[in-house]
């Protein structure tokens, strides 16, 4: 079993602040550490800043007119700031973006192959991994020749995941992998995450709304709210926390609530008090 305390830190985010457009302050000092070989979940509501955090790590903020104005991010002890995203991929850190972002006009297979863009280990190895991805996602094998723009939402999510796997990364930043996926597929995706994590030792940092699943598969979690980390700890511990239970898992003291019975009255979250 993975033990966060005993492995080295792969990624260290230290008190970062992110501003969009020079005016909108989105992250107000976020710190987190990702241990090597683990699955770390980044949880939090809409607009909490999960995506922003991930983009700050993979240096994709520039193209959105955002910038890290404070704090540092180090990957394997090396500062990320100033490196371009491509070299980060080459160093083993790849992001699966929120909202899929497939290359619409490329076929599914071409999409997957672009994932191997930075690889230098020859086409045979790439073909092998392609087969591996197809084994993980058989649906993609069926649709390998269709243009990605015409595949369904779920299929596009698979393409995006598969594409990241194709780069043989050391660490994957996964942004909302479960969004829009059918339940059994969500499970399947997380199973794949787990398999890849255990089988290939890939480290995951995943932003997820589906707290329930995320906390089942993750080793540790951070809860982000309003640009700040409000809670963190081992996944198991978080799942037992009453607030997390109520607000993120939808359970009350009597067990699962029905969505029909939700009232507009709500308790205030304790950490806001």
């Amino acid at each position: 079993m993975f033990d966060a305390d005993r492995t080295e830190t792969l990624l260290d985010v230290n008190n970062i602040e992110v501003i969009y457009n020079h005016v909108i302050l989105v992250l107000k000092g976020v710190s987190l550490t990702v241990p090597k070989g683990g699955i770390t979940a980044l949880l939090g509501g809409n607009g909490a800043g999960k995506t922003t955090t991930l983009k700050a790590i993979s240096n994709l903020l520039a193209s959105e007119r955002g910038e890290v104005t404070k704090g540092t991010i180090t990957y394997r002890g090396e500062r990320v700031a100033g490196q371009n995203p491509a070299s980060l991929v080459r160093k083993g850190i790849i992001q699966v973006m929120e909202g899929r972002h497939c290359f619409e006009h490329l076929t599914v297979e071409e999409n997957l192959l672009t994932g191997a863009y930075t690889r230098r280990d020859g086409s045979a190895a790439i073909r092998r991994d392609l087969e591996m991805v197809y084994d993980y996602f058989p649906r993609l094998r069926e649709r390998r020749k269709s243009q990605a723009g015409y595949t369904s939402g779920g299929e596009q999510q698979m393409v995006a995941m598969g594409r990241a796997l194709m780069s043989r990364p050391e660490m994957i930043l996964l942004d909302e992998p479960s969004m829009g996926l059918a339940p059994q597929l969500v499970e399947q995706i997380f199973e794949i995450v787990k398999a890849v994590n255990e089988g290939e030792g890939v480290t995951f940092l995943l932003a997820e709304q589906n707290t329930n699943v995320a906390l089942r598969y993750a080793h540790q979690g951070y809860i982000l709210e309003n640009g700040r980390v409000v809670m963190d700890g081992p996944a198991m511990q978080l799942r037992e926390n009453p607030d997390v239970k109520e607000f993120y898992l939808g359970m009350s003291d009597e067990g699962r609530k029905s969505f029909r019975d939700v009232r507009s009255y709500r308790r205030r979250k304790r950490w806001l008090a």
Partner: protein, 272 residues
């Protein structure tokens, strides 16, 4: 005319009326891909109807057929007792069908308020000159509709972002604005394509409440696609299950949940 269905009464005592929309033997193809294969089902007045199914099953395509974006190669679409011929989407909208989209389709360059106001465009009839002069009908209508929109804004609790350009909003709020836009049209039939994707439980609870309230207060018929089984089972009155373009189940949540085909194709082992 199609035959009128009797309504029914739900467990929690709501009266469901006759058939509003009926789809008969719909088949939709894209080149070689058959997205929908000979599917029929109906939606009744006042009910919450869910469509579920694995990814790529053809659910969104089905919604697109209903909202007139795709014209099926085969089959008939009946709405409020009339067979609907091939129509442009904007004509369908005028019949009283509004929807939200799976991949949010808001107008990014406009403010939240303007986005929601677009929902009311079929309610505004001021002539060109009146608009150009900002005089008479144009101004009056603008203010009247603004009032209606403000009610929706209050209802969905998005007052504080009224003037924000939607491009800057986080995902969940965008979904809410999209719902607001659809509601602004005061539709008879509201189509929701994965309204809760990308939300956490708290937000799903909010969204559920909105959907229920819309259904309750305005009597709006709702047809929704959703992958969160908790939500689907809790909210909907009847559920259609699709797989590979075919219908594999149709009935109350309980019936569907226990249907072996559905379990195999979609639900998998139940997790709670």
């Amino acid at each position: 005319m199609m035959q009128a269905h009797e309504g029914y009464v739900t467990d929690d005592g709501r009266q469901i009326g006759g058939t509003v929309m009926e789809l008969k033997n719909i088949t939709l193809r894209f080149g070689g891909v058959v997205a929908i294969k000979d599917i029929s089902f109906d939606i009744r007045q006042g009910e919450i109807r869910a469509i579920i199914g694995p990814n790529g099953a053809g659910k969104s395509s089905m919604l697109n057929v209903i909202s007139g974006f795709y014209n099926p190669q085969e089959g008939e679409v009946w709405f409020k007792g009339y067979r609907r011929g091939p129509m442009k989407p904007y004509q369908v909208a005028r019949l009283g069908i509004a929807r939200t989209f799976q991949n949010i389709a808001l107008f990014d360059g406009m403010s939240v308020l303007d986005n929601i106001m677009t929902g009311r465009l079929n309610k505004m009839k001021a002539g060109f000159l009146s608009q150009a002069m900002w005089w008479g009908a144009a101004e009056r209508e603008e203010n009247e509709n603004r009032e209606a929109v403000e009610k929706i804004i209050d209802f969905l609790e998005i007052q504080n972002i009224r003037k924000t350009p939607v491009g800057r909003l986080p995902y969940g709020l965008k979904k809410r604005v999209e719902l607001a836009r659809a509601l602004a049209a005061e539709p008879q039939l509201l189509l929701l394509d994965e309204p809760m994707a990308g939300m956490n439980v708290e937000e799903k609870e909010d969204m559920s409440r909105f959907i229920l309230d819309v259904n309750d207060e305005f009597g709006t018929t709702i047809c929704l696609i959703e992958h969160d089984m908790g939500v689907v089972m809790d909210l909907s009155d009847r559920v259609v299950v699709m797989d590979y373009g075919r219908k594999i189940g149709d009935g109350t949540p309980d019936q569907v949940r226990s249907n072996q085909d559905v379990i195999d194709a979609y639900l998998g082992v139940a997790h709670d």
